[in-house]
């Protein structure tokens, strides 16, 4: 049952990405091009998504279990950190370069677009690099703590 739900959610999300135009880098870049010929479409995408999301998360936050009685994996509230900001700035820069963010790139790849495939491969490499760098940072912090 859960696997089916997850599959359908993924499908719905992918369909939403295609319909909304998010899988069209030209459209995304058109939104990010504020001073040029501005395509406001993405604002409507986000607006529509968050309008529905607000209702859903308001309901979710009041509950301890999800509607099917299973676990609710809400992320713990964490403090604002520099790495959140830096990471988001770097992500945004990459987004502005090619007009792809993770979800749309995966869908683009699945449609047979080689550009999507290239981007996804590089993105996975970037994620792995983050993992390596982060793990070595954690290890050196632990070593420093042990030495003290």
């Amino acid at each position: 049952m859960q696997r089916t739900i997850e599959f359908l959610v993924g499908l719905l999300f992918g369909l939403g990405l295609i319909l909304s135009g998010m899988t069209d880098p030209g459209k995304v870049l058109g939104f990010l091009d504020l001073t040029g010929a501005w395509d406001p479409s993405l604002a409507l995408v986000m607006g529509g998504a968050v309008a529905v999301g607000l209702l859903a998360f308001r309901l979710a936050r009041q509950r301890e279990r999800n509607l099917l009685g299973g676990d609710l994996h809400l992320p713990p509230r964490r403090t604002l950190t520099p790495r959140l900001v830096w990471g988001s700035l770097v992500f945004g820069a990459g987004w502005g370069l090619a007009g792809y963010c993770p979800g749309p790139a995966l869908v683009s790849m699945a449609s047979g677009q080689t550009q999507g495939l290239v981007f996804v491969a590089a993105m996975l490499a970037g994620l792995l690099l983050y993992r390596l760098l982060d793990r070595s940072r954690v290890r050196s912090a632990q070593a420093t703590a042990q030495a003290e």
Partner: protein, 145 residues
């Protein structure tokens, strides 16, 4: 700033956005999970026992979207994608997105859709940051040369 009326697609974009929101809503309410693509991918690097099947199921659904869309949607509903970036740019962009979403703990779906829907101040800051960076880069590439 001028409005790009040729490419502005208010109805399909709004409808698509509603679908995205619906997907996120169903995910949190029926599966109890945040619909964040970066988070879903990161959990597969490396795959952990008991925590892999749901991620693969979701991704399978995502990959099924293009053929399903072609079957269901009337021809010409959505314009074909315009991709300008060459291989070098795509590789650099991908690396930045992978690295950035790692450190930033999320992307447009995790922070932009779910985070804002949860009224998370962290996600608001994250979203404003990646929007600003994206806009700056596009400005630089399109208007500073």
């Amino acid at each position: 700033m001028t409005i790009d009326w040729t490419h502005f697609t208010p109805w399909t974009s709004l409808s698509g956005g509603l679908l995205l929101g619906l997907a996120a809503a169903l995910f949190i309410l029926l599966s109890g999970r945040i619909l964040g693509i970066t988070g879903i991918l990161e959990g597969l690097l490396p795959p952990r026992r008991g925590d892999t099947a749901w991620r693969l199921a979701f991704l399978l659904g995502l990959f099924a979207a293009p053929p399903v869309f072609s079957l269901l949607a009337p021809a010409g509903l959505v314009a074909p994608p315009r991709i300008e970036a060459g291989t070098g740019t795509l590789v650099l962009a991908g690396l930045l997105v992978g690295l950035g979403t790692g450190y930033g703990s999320g992307c447009t779906s995790g922070h932009g859709i779910c985070g804002l829907s949860r009224l998370s101040p962290r996600s608001l800051i994250a979203t404003l940051s990646f929007m600003a960076a994206g806009m700056l880069v596009v400005y630089g590439l399109r208007h500073l040369y």
